[in-house]
């Protein structure tokens, strides 16, 4: 009887341990062959992406030494708030001193503060802060509408596909990132100006009324998008909560 129990115990121990070992452990971090002094962003920062989804362009950072020349083989590790995924999360810089990673933002709309780390020869950590913005469904709708209706006048930057009309306007519109001006306006003000045009708030008539072109939910989406991209960030005036 006891022998049976013992066999069973040994067998289950083997099974359990086999189950444990088959789990893939975290990929080992490679050993750095080079050390830099500074970390700079090459491209891929300040992107707009959808919540949970991979950003359109990879994030590329570069490691430089004191003279500003690129360092190959330096170890760079990326980190971010919960829900953010990096592919790869760490790696060695290539021959041009750069490391590229694909970033997927978390499930909540908002600004994401990401960081890249590398260490110097003296084991001192160097950090680079990067910001990306995640659009939720509502902001995504606003972003699409901005591209279609607003950006030609409100975005001063021209692209080959879209020449900006900003410089042609006598009264300059506020770019949506201009938080200093737009954060002072309430949601009701923004709704009024989008629906009824500039004159509704005693502003320029060059801003036409969109209340008969866009639906109520579309205007709400547009406003939530404007709130998200504004710089400095927008904080809704609302209830003040007791802090712990």
């Amino acid at each position: 009887m006891t022998r049976h129990w013992r066999t069973f115990f040994v067998l289950s121990l083997i099974l359990v341990s086999a189950g444990c070992t088959s789990k893939p452990g975290p990929a080992p971090t490679p050993k750095p062959t080079g050390f830099g002094a500074a970390l700079v962003e090459s491209s891929g920062g300040k992107q707009l992406g959808a919540t949970g989804m991979v950003l359109a362009d990879p994030l590329v950072v570069q490691v430089n030494d004191e003279q500003g020349t690129a360092v190959a083989g330096a170890l760079v590790e990326f980190s971010g708030p919960a829900g953010v995924r990096f592919d790869p999360p760490s790696g060695l810089t290539d021959s041009s001193g750069q490391l590229s990673t694909n970033v997927a933002l978390g499930g909540m709309a908002g600004r994401y503060q990401l960081a890249a780390h590398t260490s110097t020869k003296a084991q001192k950590s160097v950090e680079l802060k990067i910001e990306e913005i995640a659009l939720g469904y509502q902001q995504q709708v606003g972003f699409q509408l901005d591209n279609k209706y607003c950006a030609r006048c409100h975005n001063p930057e021209s692209t080959p596909e879209r020449v900006s009309n900003y410089d042609n306007l006598e009264v300059k519109p506020h770019p949506f990132t201009e938080g200093d001006a737009l954060n002072k306006m309430s949601d009701a003000d923004l709704t009024a100006i989008i629906s009824h045009g500039g004159p509704a708030l005693n502003k320029s008539a060059l801003m036409p009324a969109y209340g008969y072109t866009l639906s109520k939910t579309e205007i709400e989406g547009l406003i939530s998008y404007i709130r998200l991209v504004s710089d400095p960030p927008y904080h809704a005036a609302g209830m003040v909560y007791a802090q712990k």
Binding site: V54, L55, E220
Partner: protein, 694 residues
Amino acid sequence: MQSSSQSSSKSMKNTLFLLWQALFGDPVRAFGVVSLLLLVLLAVAPAKNHFSEWRHYQKQYLALIGNRGDAVTLLRHFHEHDGIQQIWLPQLGVVDRCTTCHVGLKEASLADVSIQPFRRHPVIPHTLDQFGCVMCHRGQGPATTVEEAHSSTLAWEQPILPARYVQSSCGQCHRAPLTGTPQLNLGRILLARYGCVHCHTIKLPDGSAIKPTDDPPSLEHIADKTTREWIYAWLKDPQAYAVTATMPNFKLSDTDARDISAFLISNSTPIPGDTAPVAKDQKAPDPTAGASLYGESFCASCHAVQNAAGNVVGGDVGPELTRVGNKVKPEWLRAWLHNPRVYDPGTAMPHYRFTDPQVSLLTAFLGNKTDSDLLANVHLDAATPEQIAHGKFLVTDYGCASCHEVNGIRKPDNFAPELTRIGSKPLTQIIFLPGMTHAIPDYIAAKIRQPRSFGSALKMPQFNLAPPQIDALTTALLSLTDRAHDLPIALTVPAKPVSNYQPAGKAGQLMADLACFSCHAINGRGGDMAPDLTWEGSSVQRRWLQAFLKNPGTLRPALIRRMPRFNLSDSDATELTDYIMAVYQTPAFDRDSMPAGGYPPAQVEQGKQLFYSKYACQACHIVDTKVDKGYVGPTLTQVGSRLNAAWIYHWLKDPQTMRPGTIEPNRNMNDEDARAMAAFLMTQNGPSKQEAKK
């Protein structure tokens, strides 16, 4: 001789007997013990209930809201629905208890809470009570433990859908593109554009099948067009020739690529007229003239070229031309530029009616677009019959004819597995790779990312896709679920029906020859690069249209993609004008209901005031080139000789009805304003030719 086992069994019996005596020795004691046992057993269920996970979360939630300013409201909402919550939608088969732990989903004031399960749900167009949770997020609705609700267990295999693919769920009901689902829309476009559906059949719930949009070239006459060396280099690595190429990499060995190229060349048949002799005596044409003709003809609207910085500049309707000189034979290119329809009757390329010198200029300009490295290491000996036979075997084996026409090889049916319900494929039918998460999204994404990682003998080639494109394709495929196919018809939002509109007669032939539909849409068919022409006859004036077809001018100076000049003959321009003016008329109004001129000056003046002050149209349009600067809409300096007065009036009243999707805002203009503005605009005939010359 007493064995030790006998003595141990004896002592065990003794112990058991003593225990029995202690518990059930006399009836009163037995009654007490049994009652106690019963009581403990009865307490198991309430205890399990009391210590359940969901109660734990509800207690946490109460602690969380307790010290908030709006605690009273939140508490009231909570106590209205105490205990286990359930959303039951029999029609959709939804039994969702998720709201038991996700208590704050509907609380708008919890916007600052980021810990789960207490976040409020972000704003979406549907409410929880309409559709429940699992319709979009998958997972197990009836489960009441975290593990069972979110992960796949032995009994329930459907885990939660990762947030990155959540748009796929919108696609179960919505067949048409939505503003809020760019990733799903992109994925659906890629499914058709990368030719996935050439090999994989995908039937939609409405019974139709997704049709490819990539139009891979026929290989029946390929020897007229290109060399065996180029085919070899292309097969080895399509993206080395053109970074934007959608042709996947089949990872062919050198000998396989050699044999396929041998077969394709030997299998090709000539078409009379698809090559034209290249004059040798001419001195090399001016390269700058070639470049400017390329620019004037707006080739870049459809064709891209990679510049020195590595950026791809230009449209994606036609193939990339960065190294086209390595590919095409000059005599084929001459004939193609003269009339592309000889070689490929269905091509999206317009028949430009170039003159001989123009064709020479462009042939020389494009012929110089080469990369000396591309074919430098390709040296092929003359093909042997064995190589050709092996090449034919490979072409059949890899299913090349699924995409390309090949002489003597029939397009295979169902070459690859059907993907109609791939989003609900049972996990038991899938072989996962070691270390892979056992879930459908991971499987689909891995298959697209690296098909041959599932077995080196697999035929599916390696596609050149960026991570966001892979996620988009996975999203589109995940939307093809059992639920999508079994939904009540009333709940689905159908896609716009596919139009096979074909204009009739000689004008119809002309429009096909000029490939108008590559850029313009008419009656639901065609591209979106240029304006929709469905009501063009109601919109413009006859004389303007005829002149425009002969020599297209600039309506929107800021655009880089513009209508090219096709060098039409007078009779062809008249034929087209007649057809457009007669057929493309809106039934909404009579184009002769308003006169072209003769409006009272007071009304014109009133229109001018409205234009500049009340409606401030100069923000986007130019009427007076000296003052106005608006560059968003078309220039209106000559609108009085271009547009029809009744069209302007109806356009001002409701632009979106006249041309759906236009960005001109609807100003809800009253009748009087619209009439005055139309009167003002009809007086804008621009500077006369003499004035312009001065």
